[in-house]
Each structure stands twice: as structure tokens, then as C-alpha cells.
Symmetry: C2
Subunit: 337 residues, 2 copies
């Protein structure tokens, strides 16, 4: 038998390994590792806890990421995790480690973004840590949210015949990243050049300033619909489908033609000579929601224009992407990124 | 006027600056930035949130820090923050970023330490994030705790004539660090050498495996005493006295001779030719508690042997260290570390 390694386990295998060794001692821990957020029972409601660690050179590139956008995004991606549990974010802690190439102006700019996101989502910045870093910028954000006990949505609740939906549109953030990477290369070749991203505002904006979909949580609450399962689309649609499939022990069949995609996203795909299907279903960082609903809620959710049905849930635990041609592609796990 | 810089602000000035720009939107945020933990009102009880960011080469040196101890310590220092609010830690999230020089065995070892601490403090590991790092190991821990509303202790509650106490003994962790640094230098000079730390087990242990004093929180609860103010001693006694003084708007007079110090700590000071007073009051990482009590609770707290009175609180906002000779030294802020 091959010796297990980090590579052979992959990120999710590693998380499963950590989870399997974690013991739960407290009765108020309703859910530990394995969903978009941890769930703590506080009597009347559930408290949700989600955390993200972001490193310069791995998760972001300061060559083309304004610090204000970075601060905003660091908050938004955690808001997205809370939204994926059908919760409302309430508090956030933000920790940063900075090297001596950062001055006070840079820190102010970063926190301007953090505060702008806090205002947009009505979240309170309640703590954090400041440290020095010997290399790049390190950011760690923890979001605390709240959800009524009868409204919480896990990854595990999808059932046969449920309708599979996504919010907003997909693939734009990934194409925005391609544009920014190209501009960076051209800039490195010719520092006098002016950026040519005017017609790419939408995709670039989706990469630099994503939003967590708390508006959808609000809208669903308004129409009185609780999804059967939900996850935020941070690693790409295919990856999230596999998560819901595994946790709910059901299969997903989704139709590529039903996936909402902006024209500029497809045009940019063509421009970059990238396979649109792979780009759309594997491109990450859209921070939209993948949601399943009971058939009986279908009429109600039609009133929310930002929610688009893209497929259905099957009893058989197999996940399929159906193309316009009728051709079917099995959705399978990718390796460690 | 001089332009403000990170250096001129210092760490605590920077935190004040971040705090002053943070707006509170939610009524359940009972306390934001500025104490050992944030405080969230969940109806019946307060939820406490504390977070720490730890970077290799800044906060720890893997040359002499076993990964298991590091995992334990990362949890313990956050437990310490929750204890400083008179709370009980319940859940923890642990995020790590690792470079490719870490193998699965190293990760397992780190989490063995995390899990050992979780068992020791009865905390549940409920989440986190795993990422890759281009340089060293990065660890971010967030602890979630609970405290009865009538038992919470802030930094701001110290009053005139209160008794100033510390738990355990001070200065050992800092001397342990000196021993480990010396061993590292000798090892770099002669890799064949054997470590000579047998007689330094205590101080080295205090550096590598500190404990958060949840036992004191438990003992105080048993005797029905609620401190007037409390903070954990992570940056050194002098620094923590200044925090309590500032938040409570009172002064502290403490007697060096009353500070509990182990003989081995003082012996190691002498061996390293270090000023014992400076080492004891400015050496950090003991993770003991600095506590103030009402005079009327003095008889009761005598029953807890781990609590030692070291001085008293004055109305005048000046902080003094009184030496055996009767000489007084004013405790003032140090610069950015």
C-alpha cells in the first residue's frame, strides 16, 4: 500500500483526517468541521463560525489587487460562508501580519475595505490580531453569524427530485483573474503601458470585489422558503456539487445551458482560448450559492430573479453535467490545488 | 507635526486606530475591539471570541519547538484570553498554511498537540482552513467561549484600593526562551552537541507548553468571587498593568518582592547575566492572569494557593513598581516590538 501523503489525501482528504481525530466534548457544539461554518447552539438560536486564511502570493497578488478591495473581499468571502448556512453575519475578527514594506497608509487602505464591507453587510469588526511578517501579507478572518434553529441549512439535506439552483452568474471571477494576470505580465514587460481592462470591468470586478449573497438569505426568508441544502461556490461549481453530493448522499444532474453566464464571461473565454465549459464549472471565487429546493417550493422561488434552476437531484449518487448536444460528462474530483 | 507611522503608533496605537474606525451595527455586540476577547450577547449568556495569528520566524522557531507543543500552545494562548474574561472556552477553529517542506507526519504531529489541548481544556475543534504557504508555517486560532452575564470580567473594572494579584509564577517562559535560543546557537556552531537543558526543564516547559488558567476561573467560581478586572499576562506584567490602568483609569502599585518567581527562573537570570527585575516584569508568554479583587474578597481568595497578592490599586493614574530597597520605579510603555 502506498504511503499516504498530503498530495494523495488532497485538501478535502486532509480536512477529513483532521475531523476524524477531533473529539466533541461540549453539548452546545451542534456541528463541527465539515460544512461552510461551525454551528453552536446558544439556546434560542444557532451561532455560526466561519474562518479563512489568506496569504499573499497564494490567495492574492498585490500587483493588481488594491488593498481596499482586498480588505472588502476578505470580509465578503466569510460572509459568503455564513450565507451558505442560511445565516446572517453579525461580527467579524480580522487579523493581519505585515512586513516592513507596508506603511500606515497601506494598513489604513486595507481597513477602509474591511469597514466598507462591514457597513455593506452590517457586520461589526470586534477583534483581531496584528503581527509582523517576514515575508508577505497574511490575513485571517473569522465571521460570526446567527440563524434561527428552524432555518439552518446544511450541506447534507438535499433529497431526490429536489431542484438544483445557483444564484447570480458563474465563471466571471475566474475570467477576471485571467485578465488581471495578463495585464500583470504585460506590465512586467512594459511598465509604461496603460491597463486595457475598460471593457472587462465586469469580470475584473467579480474577481476583485465579490459579494456574499446575504440578499438571497433575506429574500428566501421573506418568501418563507428554507432550502434543503446549500453551499457557497468558492472553488467552482463542480467542486461544490461534489460536496453536496457527498454530504447528502444523492446525485446531481445539471444542464450546462441552464447555468447563468454573462456574455462578457464567454467572450473573455474565447479571447483567452479557454474551454468555456471547464472555465465555468471549475473556475472559482464567484461566491454565489449552490442551492437545492423541494419541488413544492418551485413556484415561490420563481419570484427571486437572482435564483436560476440548473438541474435536479437524483437518488443515484452520480454527478452529471449535461451539454446542449445531449452529451453527458461525469463530474469527478480534482486533485490538490 | 511628525507624520504618523506604524512605529510611532506602536501595536496598541494601531489597534486603537483600527478600533476608532470600526462602527457597531448590531445590538448583540456587547464589546468589540479592546479587551482579551470580543463579547456577544446571546440572550442567556455572553459568547466570547478571541483570535491569534502566529507566524514561523516571528512567534515561534521550529528549530527548537516540537510541532506537537506548538499545536498545544496555539490553543492554550487563546484559552488564556477566554480565561481572562472569566469565561470557559468551548470551541476552537485552527487554520494553518504550510509550505512544501511539511509532510503529513508534521501535520499529524501539530494536530496531536491541538487535540491534546482540546482534551485538556474540554474544547471542540470545530473548524479552520488549510492553505499552502510560500514561506513558513502560519497558524491562526480563534477560540469561542462562554460566560454568565453576571460573571464577565473586563479590563475596565479595577477600582481604588482593590488588591492586585497574579496567578502562578512569572518570568519563567522568558528565561526558557533564553535557554532555547542559546541551545540553538550552540547547535548551529556544533550540530553534534547534545542539548544541556536537563536542569532547565521547568523554564523550557513554561516557554514551550504554557497553560491557559481555566483552573483559576473554575476556582473563583467555586468560592463565588468575581474579580473587578482581569487580563492575561502574554506581553509581560508591566505591559498588562498599563492595559488595566488605562482601561480602568486607576493606578497600580506593585511590590517586586511579592511577585511569585521560581528559584530556577532567578538562577537562569543570573546565569544569563540578565537584570532579574526587567526580565520578570517585561518577559512575556507566561500566560498567567493579572487580577484585581475587592478588598472584601481578600479572605476568600486566600483559599486559592495559586493566587498571590502583589499590590494595590490607587486613584491616581500612575503605575509603580516598588523594590525591596523601597526604591520606586515608574512603569511606562515600551515601543513596538
Amino acid at each position: 500500500m502506498e504511503k499516504e501523503t498530503i498530495e494523495s489525501l488532497g485538501e478535502f482528504g486532509l480536512i477529513d483526517r483532521i475531523k476524524s481525530n477531533a473529539v466533541i466534548f461540549n453539548t452546545n457544539t451542534a456541528l463541527g468541521i465539515g460544512d461552510d461554518a461551525a454551528v453552536i447552539d446558544n439556546g434560542n438560536t444557532f451561532t455560526l463560525i466561519s474562518t479563512d486564511l489568506l496569504l499573499e502570493g497564494v490567495h492574492f497578488d498585490l500587483t493588481y489587487t488594491p488593498l481596499k478591495h482586498l480588505g472588502y473581499k476578505a470580509v465578503a468571502v466569510n460572509v459568503s460562508d455564513i450565507a451558505a448556512m442560511n445565516g446572517t453575519p453579525k461580527q467579524i475578527t480580522v487579523s493581519i501580519a505585515i512586513s516592513n514594506r507596508f506603511d500606515l497608509e497601506a494598513i489604513d487602505e486595507f481597513y477602509e475595505g474591511v469597514n466598507a464591507a462591514c457597513e455593506a453587510y452590517h457586520i461589526d469588526l470586534v477583534g483581531g490580531d496584528t503581527a509582523s511578517s517576514r515575508s508577505g501579507l497574511v490575513i485571517s478572518v473569522t465571521a460570526v453569524g446567527e440563524v434561527d434553529k428552524d432555518k439552518i441549512v446544511y450541506r447534507s439535506g438535499a433529497g431526490e427530485n429536489d431542484i438544483v439552483c445557483v444564484t447570480g452568474d458563474l465563471g466571471a471571477a475566474y475570467m477576471g483573474l485571467q485578465v488581471l494576470e495578463r495585464e500583470k505580465q504585460e506590465f512586467l514587460g512594459n511598465p509604461q503601458m496603460q491597463p486595457k481592462i475598460d471593457d472587462k470591468t465586469y469580470v475584473v470586478g467579480r474577481q476583485l470585489k465579490p459579494e456574499g449573497r446575504t440578499d438571497i438569505v433575506h429574500d428566501l426568508n421573506e418568501i418563507g422558503v428554507v432550502p434543503t441544502s446549500m453551499i457557497d461556490i468558492s472553488d467552482g461549481l463542480a467542486s461544490e456539487i461534489l460536496h453536496l453530493s457527498k454530504h447528502s448522499q444523492v446525485g446531481f444532474t445539471v444542464f450546462f445551458d441552464n447555468i447563468p453566464i454573462e456574455n462578457i464571461t464567454l467572450e473573455t473565454c474565447t479571447e483567452f482560448n479557454l474551454n468555456p465549459i471547464a472555465s465555468i464549472i471549475s473556475g472559482g471565487e464567484d461566491y454565489e450559492l449552490l442551492i437545492t429546493f423541494k419541488q413544492s417550493d418551485f413556484e415561490k422561488i420563481k419570484s427571486i430573479p437572482e435564483i436560476t434552476p440548473i438541474g435536479f437531484v437524483t437518488k443515484e449518487i452520480e454527478n452529471w453535467l449535461v451539454l446542449n448536444s445531449g452529451e453527458k460528462t461525469k463530474i469527478v474530483a480534482q486533485g490538490w490545488k
